[in-house]
Symmetry: C2
Subunit: 243 residues, 2 copies
DNA sequence: AAATTGCCTTGATATATATCAAAAGATATT
DNA sequence: AATATCTTTTGATATATATCAAGGCAATTT
């Protein structure tokens, strides 16, 4: 494997990574796990505001986020930015590049980040050898398809307040799965980013925040969001089911 | 391979299929092609209005459409239907089922259809043996991710007329790639289906049709749509570029 | 042929969100 | 500390689309 070490690229082993439950297939023995360490060629650091990859750039690798927070987006024909998603530790980005051998998105770090570079040739090679990795890769891609399905549903059917509620619920759920609070969020993205992601305008996002805040469902102070009433938030999304 | 033949299931070889350029990897020799015939276990016929699979059903197989036209959709919490896509000959459906081992969509035939049943275990097994198939599967999934990206962009940013224009352009383009007219479409779906897919209401779709028709860009007679001015239709989507 | 049904179109009105504009808070700069 | 810059909030108004309601058109049934 071509392993070039610079000050920006530090090799780490997936087998020792505390995120392996998120990134890697489960149920591997130590020996296999060590073989799978080879998917990752290098690590790369991305400072806040910097691009991990840009639309049109040649696709070579998938990236597993170790730390940090990313935004993926594309430019619309009119020159606006459409946010496609927000990604955090343990998540894989770059899947959009496979089909045309070019990334279609820009991926920008919303906070200092550290990613594992997984050359796609490594992924494919090891996938052939390890069915469990193969299955894992397929699931990761399928999950992204399903996620986008539900985004389409949301943008097509929900009102602004509901969309914001879904957005916040999804964020806390993912953060909580990573050991963070299930009731507090520090937003890494601007209101404008949220607006684009949810298919609305930033003013509408702001008003939706204010509304939820006035209703006592959440507490908002800049980019801090506290979930005061989780049930109420869920009820906004789905008034029927009161789980 | 478990190959049960009933009156509904007829085995065919991909190597002789006239859709192989759409479904299968390109650049295979005859021998490899015949090996890959094994991805397809059986064929299945689906009558208009019938389901190929339903949400919640156990995921076993992907399906390659040989003939016919499908709609995939999910039910919203409020009991409405959200259309996720329309699929035609040469396209693969069922990818959403991989992640949870259950299909998340309903797939209903909008006209009598004939599909190749590809047990996912076959797909994975042969993918390990044939890197070119492996790559193909990855591209198919990545393409779906990118397609949904652009749907999100469209629903989030475009106005009703633009959305309808994109929809029609996409349809003719795909139909033309399959040897059909590049200026005439027989819509297989209702106005309501289109509305759901595009994130609008059926009345709005109807008005958008009328508008485009009044402007002389298209000709509409029920489910027949004639493209009278392709350039104008493209210009509605992207006023800047006049390609 | 008349009647039923389903789908589509059209019209009138309501409403959610966008747009335009300004002020208020933060953050960074000098 | 004061100034400038950027982000967010809030208000007033405009507008695109949704909603409600009725009528038209085709296909199917009786």
């Amino acid at each position: 494997m071509n392993l070039e070490l610079t000050k920006d690229t530090i090799k780490v082993a997936c087998s020792n990574c505390n995120l392996r439950e998120l990134c890697m297939p489960i149920g591997l023995d130590q020996a296999d796990m060590q073989k799978l360490d080879e998917v990752v060629a290098t690590r790369r650091q991305v400072k806040q505001g910097e691009l991990l990859f840009r639309s049109g750039e040649e696709f070579k690798s998938l990236f597993a986020i170790r730390t940090g927070f990313f935004k993926t987006s594309v430019a619309t024909p009119e020159g606006l930015e459409q946010v496609m998603g927000f990604q955090m530790a343990g998540e894989i980005i770059g899947l959009d590049g496979i089909v045309t051998d070019q990334y279609t998105c820009n991926a920008v770090a919303l906070e200092d980040a550290d990613v594992c570079v997984m050359p796609f040739s490594n992924v494919e090679e090891l996938s052939r050898e390890f069915p469990v990795l193969q299955r894992h890769v397929h699931k990761v891609m399928s999950r992204e398809i399903v996620r986008e399905n539900s985004m389409m549903m949301m943008i097509g059917n929900m009102r602004s307040e509901e969309r914001l509620a879904v957005f916040l619920l999804n964020l806390v759920q993912r953060l909580h799965a990573r050991g963070f609070s299930q009731s507090e969020i520090i937003l890494r993205m601007s209101r404008e980013d949220i607006a684009s992601y949810l298919g609305m305008k930033l003013e509408t996002v702001s008003r939706a925040f204010t509304k939820l805040s006035d209703e006592g469902v959440i507490e908002v102070k800049q980019r801090y969001v506290g979930i005061l009433d989780l049930q109420a938030l869920k009820k906004i999304v789905n008034p029927r089911a009161c789980d």
